[in-house]
């Protein structure tokens, strides 16, 4: 296997890692008010990701930077094509990122409420638009022979791409609720479990439609893609375990569903990186956008040396904060 293939896989891995980890962070952001009756509840929910979300977001940074280093042509065309969409993603991520910190410092319930609303909005908008962007890669966009994007903002809003966005937001909600059920106790946990149980069948339908649609859009023959099958089976199993109230299994399965959804898109994309609607001659592929062999070799060595260490200490941080949270820890009589 050539290094160009390796880097396509690594970038898929980084995007998958991002959505699996930040996916439940987004879910927690979306649900932190819905699953709570009062401020201690909200703090409990937010604190499940308190020590973790920042490290999770770095996966996106590294995915973007890896595209820049390994496939500069892909990075350049994609990021300029999705200009306004990515600007919105940045706004969403910024507002969401600071609202974790700022809402904790808010003095009045009203200010805290504003930061909470921004946290929710940011947590919906970011995965939705990133989903649209990923969907467009596969669905195809007008790309010129100079590899530059030749469409407008509205060309990005295609039905399939929008559906990918919806799928990711729906999955974040389910993934977040199984995560909260796993990380809390008492009423919050019960509400999270109830939500997971009720939402799971709907999410299963959304994911199934996504899997089939992806297969059709990719147009690679009738033979089903095993990853797409895995996504459908896993989401059905997730719904079953959520119904049974099995926290650990439900979360494991929503993790698998999220991973399978992202991986299926990348497997259908390969060896292209951006499909062109102007004919396959103008498709961006791993070979016509890649860096030189020296850079790829260098980055591979760096990745092999550093990534296992990163994975190890991130896993250790999860282990350190594995304990379930209880709202009594956040009942502070001096506030509210």
């Amino acid at each position: 296997m050539t290094l160009v293939n390796v880097w396509f896989i690594l970038i898929a891995v980084l995007w998958t890692g991002f959505f699996v980890l930040e996916g439940f962070d987004f879910g927690v952001g979306i649900l932190h008010r819905y699953l709570s009756r009062d401020e201690p509840d909200r703090r409990t929910v937010i604190n499940t990701i308190g020590p973790l979300w920042d490290g999770n977001e770095v996966w996106l940074v590294v995915a973007g930077a890896a595209m820049f280093a390994a496939f500069p042509g892909w990075y350049a065309t994609m990021f300029s094509a999705f200009y306004l969409a990515l600007a919105l993603v940045l706004v969403a991520l910024i507002l969401r990122g600071v609202s974790f910190e700022f809402r904790g410092h808010a003095r009045s319930a009203r200010t805290r409420g504003i930061w909470s609303s921004l946290l929710i909005a940011g947590s919906i908008v970011a995965p939705f638009l990133l989903g649209v962007a990923l969907g467009d890669l596969l669905r195809g966009l007008p790309i010129g022979s100079d590899q530059e994007y030749a469409g407008t903002f509205f060309d990005l809003l295609q039905p399939y791409a929008l559906w990918v966005g919806v799928t990711l937001v729906a999955l974040c909600v389910l993934h977040g609720s199984t995560f909260i059920a796993l990380k809390t106790t008492g009423d919050v946990r019960d509400r999270a479990k109830r939500l997971a149980r009720r939402a799971a069948p709907f999410v299963a339908v959304v994911v199934a439609v996504y899997a089939i649609w992806t297969h059709v859009i990719a147009d690679k023959g009738v033979l089903p893609n095993p990853v797409e099958i895995a996504a459908i089976l896993a989401v059905v199993a997730a719904a079953w375990f959520a119904g049974q109230g099995r926290d650990g299994w439900a979360f494991t399965l929503t993790t698998i569903v999220m991973a399978a959804v992202i991986v299926s898109l990348f497997t259908e994309l390969f060896p292209r990186v951006m499909v062109s609607t102007n004919g396959s001659a103008t498709d961006l592929t791993i070979s016509n956008t890649a860096s030189g062999s020296y850079t790829l070799k260098l980055m591979t060595i760096i990745f092999v040396l550093i990534f296992p260490v990163v994975a190890a200490y991130q896993a250790w941080s999860y282990h350190t904060f594995r304990r379930r949270l209880n709202r009594t820890e956040f009942e502070n009589p001096t506030e509210e």
């Binding site: 940074v61 973007g64 930077a65 042509g73 990075y75 990021f79 600071v98 410092h105 990163v310 991130q314």
Partner: protein, 463 residues
């Protein structure tokens, strides 16, 4: 305004803004680690209280620094796709290394540090703040390596069939003299910035006689770090000037508004008039030989003037104007140097007061120290304007012009919309951040007693 101007304006705005937070993160991360180490070693509760106090400021600052850093990384592809396409082979590699080797480290261990009080053994918990500080400093190394490559491209060959520069020697990129001196300069400036912030906050409390014993210590610590750091920063900065004069002579000649070649060359303290259309400004207080010394390290060194350099460049690269904006260049150099001098004098005054044993009582010094908090931010911003404006009209020195780097597929309206949105967003964030920083800077010290298990260390980091 053209797309290039708008994209430049956006890049200038977002990176100047981002770099208000970066030096504080790098420097304060290090200082907080020092404070916690002092507590760990000596068991003195005062240092624990200071660790938590300044740790809170660090965390608020990082919240904005991290999210604005995201914009920086996305912006290359969004606004500068032609640039990204041409040089991603080289420029992308340090960015990816930064994410992998530095940003993961900083972000992961910051979370562990904030929430790890009372949950980790003290020694391990101390290690986490050091890892945050190391991650932040390492992060700057990769970014500076990437930036230095734009100032002085090394370690590449041009692909004959595509015309694109391709990396062929990473060692050359990581030992680029512009990088080595520039990185040291940035680290020292960051440390000085954080030391001034710590001094200002301590002085504010000392003026109000609150916790004089505790804040007296942080004031002394900050001064002890500030003075040698500032000395070194100025020394390294002048060496960087010599290196840049060698590889980017235009940058240094423009910083002195030196239109004609001179030998020996004097340095003007300030000038009236000047700019690209005014080659004969009134220079006030010319210090003989100083420019020769700054640019070449020789008493009688020659500095080639802008007109001669421009003619050389026209011969080498074709017709065009290769002189950067001289007005910005001249003044950013002076604002940086004068702010640095003021900081240094303030630090020396503080050391003198410590020697006399009157630091905590000197109301005039304490009052000035509070307001001096603005100086390092002005100094840092001017320093970046000096280095980036001085690179113009090149995006990558000698390889690509700024006008050729912009995204061809992005329309003017898109850039305008995102520019306005980011401006408003950054304005709101700045207001909230300043309000919070002031509020927590003026707060009473947190109690030293160890809290019940599970409570975050710093008041309401994420509660």
């Amino acid at each position: 305004m053209s797309n290039v101007d708008l994209a430049r304006l956006q890049f200038a705005m977002t990176s100047i803004y981002h770099f208000l937070f970066v030096p504080v993160t790098i420097g304060l991360g290090f200082l907080t680690a020092v404070l916690q180490t002092a507590w760990y070693r000596r068991g003195d509760e005062a240092y624990l209280r200071l660790t938590k106090f300044f740790g809170t400021l660090l965390v608020i600052n990082i919240a904005v620094g991290v999210v604005t850093g995201l914009v920086q990384e996305f912006q290359f592809g969004m606004n500068w796709s032609a640039y990204s396409r041409l040089v991603g082979d080289i420029f992308g590699a340090p960015l990816a290394m930064e994410g992998l080797a530095a940003f993961f480290l900083e972000a992961t261990f910051l979370g562990v540090w904030i929430f790890g009080w009372n949950r980790l053994p003290r020694r391990l918990h101390l290690a986490t703040i050091w890892l945050v500080a190391i991650g932040a400093a390492l992060s700057a190394a990769f970014i500076m390596a990437a930036n230095s490559w734009m100032q002085h491209p090394v370690g590449y060959e041009t692909n004959a069939s595509t015309g694109r520069p391709q990396l062929n020697d990473i060692w050359a990129v990581m030992t680029n003299p512009v990088f080595l001196w520039g990185y040291a300069h940035v680290l020292l400036a960051a440390l000085a910035t954080a030391a001034v912030v710590m001094l200002a906050v301590s002085a504010w409390h000392l003026r109000r006689k609150s916790h004089v014993d505790v804040f007296g210590r942080s004031a002394k610590l900050s001064l002890a770090i500030l003075v040698p750091t500032m000395f070194l920063a100025m020394f390294v900065g002048s060496e960087l000037g010599v290196v840049e004069a060698k590889y980017q002579p235009m940058k240094i000649a423009a910083a002195e508004a030196q239109w004609e070649t001179c030998q020996p060359c004097s340095f003007s303290a300030f000038q009236i008039g000047g700019g690209n259309d005014d080659q004969n400004p009134t220079k006030i207080i010319a210090i003989p030989h100083l420019l020769s010394l700054l640019a070449t390290n020789h008493w009688n060194g020659q500095v080639i003037g802008l007109n001669e350099l421009n003619a050389q460049y026209q011969q080498q690269y074709g017709p065009g104007d290769y002189v950067p904006n001289v007005f910005i260049q001249y003044w950013s150099m002076r604002v940086m140097a004068y702010a640095a001098t003021l900081i240094l004098f303030l630090g020396l005054w503080g050391l003198w007061l410590i020697h006399r044993g009157t630091l905590e009582r000197s109301r005039r010094f304490l009052w000035l120290s509070v307001w001096a908090v603005l100086l390092p931010f002005i100094m840092n911003t001017a320093g970046w304007m000096l280095t980036e404006n001085g690179r113009q009209p090149w995006l990558v020195q000698g390889i690509m012009r700024t006008t050729d780097g912009v995204s061809p597929s992005v329309g003017t309206s898109s850039i305008v919309v995102s520019l306005i949105v980011f401006f408003l967003l950054y304005l709101v964030l700045a207001i909230v951040d300043v309000v919070l920083m002031l509020r927590y800077s003026r707060r009473e010290l947190p109690p030293a007693a160890t809290e019940p298990a599970g409570e975050p260390p710093v008041p309401a980091a994420i509660q």
